[in-house]
Amino acid sequence: MVTTVTNLGRSGLSDWLIQRTTAVILVAYVIFLTVVIGSGDFQYAEWKSLFSQTWVRIFSLAALLSLAMHAWIGIWCVATDYLTSYVLNLKLGPFFGAKANILRLSFLAASAIVLFTYVVWGIQILWG
């Protein structure tokens, strides 16, 4: 049986729930940062001590991992909807239509590299 092999949860329902859960974490983190940055003119020492607190690091890492999962699910949806032999054949002709699978997998691989880089970079910022 052929089934999905590149989506995050390997199940639509799982992806759906992960997308919502990570969305809530991300919007909470955006509101948190907005309130913090909006609360006054920060100097380096205060800013540094804020991000040295364990709970801020945990919250930041949760948001970062959520970002990677959320973005992967979103990118996967777009790529598997539009980077298909049917769509590429229709829009760009048979040459690209025949190469849809390799184009889509390359795009997904490039996206994975970018997202993985964000995660490692973020961990380095928070704990480096």
Partner: protein
């Protein structure tokens, strides 16, 4: 996102770099880039919250969907404007 992670990285690296970020964010060109990034984030967030409300079964009609979409545009525009005022 790379722009925002870069800002966090620089702002936490050292006091010198923290002040460099403050300098950078005072240039008009960078303010425009930052506003474009934040406008995208705001619109995506507001539209995302709309989806969560729809998931709760609120507004699942054609009229509700059209009204919600218009509301998302209006709220996003207002928030983007406020952020623009804040940055400048």
């Amino acid at each position: 996102m790379a722009v925002l992670i870069y800002l966090l990285d620089e702002s936490l690296a050292s006091e010198q770099q923290f002040n460099d970020v403050k300098m950078l964010t005072s240039s008009v060109m960078f303010k425009l880039i930052l506003l474009a990034v934040l406008a995208g984030l705001i619109y995506h967030s507001v539209a995302g919250v709309k989806h969560l409300i729809l998931d709760m079964g609120i507004g699942e009609t054609l009229e509700g969907g059209i009204a919600a979409a218009k509301l998302v545009f209006i709220i996003s525009a207002i928030l983007t404007l406020l952020v623009g005022v804040w940055i400048w």
